[in-house]
Amino acid sequence: VPSLSSLNTPHTGLNAQRRALDVIAHNVANARTEGYHRQRVEIGSLGTTATTGVFSGASRTYGADVVSVTRAYDEVLASRAIREDATRQSAASMRTAMTTVESIFPEPTDLGLSAVLDTFWGSWTDLANDPGSLAARSQVLENARWLATSLNRTDSQLQAVATDAATRIGGLAVEVNDLAAQIADLNRTITSSSPPNNDLLDRRDVLAGRLANLTGATVRPTTGGKVDVLLGGRALVMDTSVQTVTGSTGVLQWTSDSAAVNPASGEAHGLASVIADVVPRYRAMLDGVASQLVTSVNALHTAGYDQAGTTGRNFFDPANLTAGTIRLSADVLGQPANVAAGAPVLPGPVAPGPLDGEQARQIAALAESASGADAQYQSLVTTLSLETRAARSRFDIQEQVADTAMRDAASVGSVSIDEEMVALTTAQRAYEANARVMTAIDEMLGFLIERTGVVGR
């Protein structure tokens, strides 16, 4: 027999379905929100609670209620996606740096250092062919100056790559501190509600992902939906307290004790290896080219004679053996007559005839040397091209890996409109059905009220 309390059951159903509709609307509204994970309403039955009925002592009540609203989130997949994305970012910054370094060496063209070197050697051959010509001597000096300037410029361009990376680390530290502070704030807010607010969790995960992208920081979940963030083995965010980092010196450091942060991946890792490894290595190789040039040319030039029979002059400044500093010696700078084209006549040695170009020819032959500056430069370019290609393919591969990991993670949490439409239809129908039950009970009660007590009327 229906009682007034029976109306309560469809009422709980209506409420539960309305909540379900609210969540569906929330999902659809956030279908394109970054980091949003779809939420699901779990509805449970209320079948066990005993209450006292009006007409019949203790009786069971029926109905439904929302047990929880959960977000579709897979811890394993999500953390894997974050980790792979951080590695991708590290590979990306490495690839960018390598591509920049590569563009500093425009080979194979007639604009690169290789062509400048050949022009330099060529002017020695021209001098050997015509040792009496002041123009040929001036040409040698002019081409040598251009070669030295090209080496200087290439070196400073390489240095600029490291400087740019150092500047970026400074900006990156500011971003890291900002994100860490936001995560600590969210930790505080999240604990204030129980169960934790799903939308806040989503926002926090987005921030942690960005932090991982920058530094490869890892997240360790603690109680009540909070997380700690670890960076290179030390806590960046611990509950609601934050440690700060600084990058003003071009190296990522902890502000508190100036210890170096060793980011395992992320952009900071790529930048750090550009500064500490890539740029110094290529600068050292370029220095090798420069010092080989200075020592080999000087060895022959000091032994050679100019037209006046003077010997023992340096061609390049022997004190400056790096690509950044290489320059002509004061002995020959601006004094083409002092270029030594003549070879010593042995035994003796004595000065050769003023029109001897043998020493210039020997110097020009340095171009062919298997351990000469040209060969060293060529090996630099080969190493660079191989390394750049490796960096690029590492990035390409890692991008595939990261994409897959992110798609896997997104496949759990992302909103499917079709799915939501099905759920919407179900909830709508359930709502209508509950309303129908209510109508049925109402009609039954109405029947009782109108028809009872009228027997024999």
Partner: protein
């Protein structure tokens, strides 16, 4: 795996971007005409291309040296050929002066002697022949090879030109190598002519005979030098022919390494364009599909 609108959108976007970037690569290859846009596109090709470009630049350098060597040798060859003519005339004069009629005629003797001296002067000016303001028989010394009195001013140095990778050709001969060493029993050709002229003037038949033999020795020396210079000129010519061939080979190989195979690149571009269009069409058909279209 669960597929949703946004995961599908993401992977579609990535596929489209990849297709487009492949197309762009091919377009860059086509528009630049170069296969090696950056060293890392083909490290071994880059290394080869750098080597080939270096070889080509060296070949240009060698070509300049070849021109220079040829100039030297041509100048020397002309001077020596003319010298042989002068010496032949000197020998004729000596024979005529030594003849019975010649010896007896005082006026004739002085005329023969004068002719010999003028031939000597002519030879001296040939010995001072220069190529681009540089005496070719002077070694590495500056100025003229012989002073007006016929004394050698130069040195014994040889002048060498690099005409091909590890190929050197000496382009000069010194005065003494061509015209003989001054002093000694025979002396150089100028001393011989000097003595011959004196002997003719004096009508000294014995001396004339001795000097005629000496003149023949010097004539042979110059003739040998002419052959030597000619041989070197032939080597220069041969090297030039080989260098020109080599240049052609180098240019062709460089083009093979560096330049785009236009036909292949065009076909690739067309294929990539087609597949890009196909994927665009597929996206346009699939993406708008939604359950919403079928719910009332």
């Amino acid at each position: 795996m669960r597929v949703t609108t946004s995961t599908m959108l993401q992977s579609t976007m990535r596929d489209l971007a990849q297709g487009l970037s492949r197309l762009q690569d091919t377009q860059t290859r086509l528009s630049s005409g170069k296969e090696l846009i950056r060293p890392s596109y083909d490290p071994s090709g880059t290394s080869t291309a750098m080597g080939l470009r270096q070889d080509l630049r060296r070949a240009d350098q060698h070509a300049r040296s070849l021109d220079d060597a040829q100039g030297w040798l041509d100048t020397a060859d002309q001077a020596l050929t003319a010298s042989l003519g002068v010496l032949t005339r000197a020998k004729d004069v000596a024979i005529r002066a030594a003849s019975s009629g010649g010896i007896g005629d005082v006026n004739g003797r002085s005329a023969y002697a004068a002719e010999l001296r003028s031939l000597r002067a002519e030879l001296l000016s040939l010995a001072n022949s220069s190529f681009g303001q540089r005496s070719v028989f002077n070694g590495t010394a500056a100025g003229a090879a012989y002073d007006p009195s016929g004394v050698y001013q130069g040195n014994a140095a040889s002048v060498v030109r690099d005409v091909a990778p590890s190929v050197q050709i000496p382009v000069n001969m010194t005065g003494p190598q061509v015209f003989g060493t001054a002093g000694g029993a025979v002396g150089d050709v100028f001393e011989v002519l000097d003595r011959l002229a004196t002997a003719v003037l004096n009508g000294d038949a014995n001396a004339i005979t001795t000097e005629q033999a000496n003149l023949q020795t010097r004539y042979d020396g110059v003739a040998n030098a002419t052959v030597e210079i000619g041989t070197r000129a032939a080597r220069v010519e041969e090297t030039r022919t080989r260098s020109t061939e080599m240049r052609g080979v180098l240019t062709e190989r460089l083009s093979q390494v560096e330049d785009v195979d236009i036909v292949e690149a065009l076909i690739t571009a067309k294929a990539q364009e087609g597949s890009y269009q196909a994927s665009l069409q597929a996206v346009a058909k699939i993406l708008p599909m939604s359950l919403l279209d079928f719910l009332r």
